[in-house]
């Protein structure tokens, strides 16, 4: 689905990303992890073509990203990120229906099958009963789910999310990530919380200061030595007895 090789990004004199290479199969969630300034968001910007890479290649469905037209790209790849509240209050349905844009020509109207696909997407994220509600009354978790619904209306082959669990309380964090699991399309997500990454991601990409430290299964990436080096904190990696997933505990400086 997505294949990245030799990818580098230089902004001014600063090397933001250097020689990144990984691939994402047809299914599953790839989590991009790393400390602040590791280059997670920049990587997402390169893949969504918000920034051009300095060198390297991104293949989306075996085709170079640069060959896509804007419209083709918006039909293939959807991005979920945080937005400031809109100037004029829109309803949940209106925001989700924005996802129709890449599939519509100039004077094409919104027909009943379009409305059905918007309603389907809202159903999937559990917001169908709030279709006519103004979005400034939504909670943070609902808003995040709404932006995911808008992305689904685009009918993308790949979904990108930048820190979807930021500012959400624990319940909503799990709700959003569980939703991503149930979508059955490949997902690339930047995520801060290593325990959530270990719980929900099928593969992980660990970045540090623009370099790729590790790429592989959570077991391969979340290794004690590696994490300790990257995050500059003493840590313990254990396995949750019931969930059979890795658990990471960072220890306060000096506690070890």
């Amino acid at each position: 689905m997505l294949k990245v090789s030799g990818l580098s990004l230089q902004l001014g004199s600063q090397l933001v990303l250097q020689d990144i290479a990984f691939s994402l199969p047809q299914q599953g969630i790839l989590g991009v992890i790393g400390p602040n300034g590791a280059g997670k968001s920049s990587l997402l910007k390169l893949i969504s073509r918000a920034l051009p890479p300095t060198c390297g290649q991104i293949l989306l469905r075996q085709r170079p990203l640069s060959q896509y037209t804007n419209q083709q790209l918006a039909r293939t790849l959807a991005v979920v990120s945080q937005h400031p509240p809109p100037l004029f209050a829109l309803t949940v349905f209106q925001v989700a229906a924005m996802g129709l844009l890449p599939h519509k020509s100039w004077f094409e109207t919104t027909n009943s099958s379009d409305r059905a696909s918007v309603t389907r997407a809202l159903n999937k994220v559990g917001l169908a009963n709030k279709a006519d509600v103004l979005i400034d009354t939504l909670s943070g978790g609902e808003l995040q789910r709404l932006y995911i619904a808008r992305a689904l209306v685009q009918q993308p082959a790949l979904l990108l999310l930048d820190e979807p669990t930021n500012h959400l309380d624990v319940q909503y964090q799990h709700q959003v990530l569980q939703l991503l699991r149930e979508l059955n399309i490949p997902v690339l997500v930047c995520i801060h919380d290593l325990n959530l990454a270990a719980l929900y991601c099928d593969s992980l990409l660990l970045l540090n200061k623009g370099h790729q430290v590790a790429f592989g299964t959570p077991e391969q990436v979340l290794q004690h030595q590696q994490l300790q080096q990257v995050f500059a904190l003493e840590c313990q990696v254990s396995r949750h007895p019931a969930l059979d997933k890795l658990q990471i505990t960072f220890l306060p400086p000096g506690a070890a």
Partner: protein, 340 residues
Amino acid sequence: MVKLAARLSLPRQRNYPLMLLITLLLLVASAVFSLTLGSAEISINDIIAVLFGTAGTPALADTVIWQIRLPRLLCAMLVGAGLAVSGAILQNVSRNPLADPYLFGLMAGAGLGATIVSVVLPAQLFSVAVGAFAGALLAVALVFVFCAGQHWRKVEVTLLAGVAVSFMLSALSSFILYFAEPFAANRVMFWLMGSLSRTDWQSVLLLAPVTLLVLLLALALRRQLDALLLSDESARTLGVNTSRLRLVLLLATALLTACIVSQCGGIAFVGLMIPHLVRRLFGVTSLHLLTGSALLGALFLIWVDNLARTVLPQQEIPLGVITSLVGSLFFLTLMRAKQT
């Protein structure tokens, strides 16, 4: 202030088709009524007869309607629709609820053009309208040249450049008028405050296609306009080239407004007020906003012109005076209603 103005556009349950029908009916009724107003008394029956070319209509009525009142009425509708649609587009494109068609220093440019034509150049060389159009284009060109290379990302820069160009061109006009004969200043002044008294069929032929084209263009781009409401980034991920969309729509509205200014001077507040009213009555998304603005803008300006022609005997009030008065009262009332 910006937040407050945005709050004025709070939506509520609305029925778009019903509002459309009501406004259309009001528009037709107001248009016919407007044709009856004037120093020559013409009944509604006569007007209908004249409009449908029935035999035996009085010759005077025929001339008054076809040569004076009908072109003026059509101009009122086109100017109202054009200003309101431009305002709606600009508010969405600049994501600024206080944006209005006279951004980019258009009025100041038109004023300078009109001043030069009526004071500096030899009489009758150009009409004031041509001068105003050239001046308005000059202002737009200055703003666009200044902002070229910014890729139209920084809307604030465009707005500020408009303010700066405005002051620059106004200063030039003031300088010229200061040394001119007092009557010239009066003429330019009355002209700048807006009036439909000089419009004729030529104005209609200029304004109708331009207004229609800009409206159609905006309707074609309505989904892109909607996508801009959240954020530029959000619009880009939906495949919208935001820089190009901005540039195209800013240019289109600037040209439309320059045409309007050249025909009837400055009519403030229509482009600012009508879109806010439309968002409350018709809806926030661009399809509702654009069609509603066109209809309500036309309706509003018909009545403003009716007032301008009839309030004082033997004299017309400048349109800009009425629209500014009504507009400011409208905003104050709404703000008060929101606070309580």
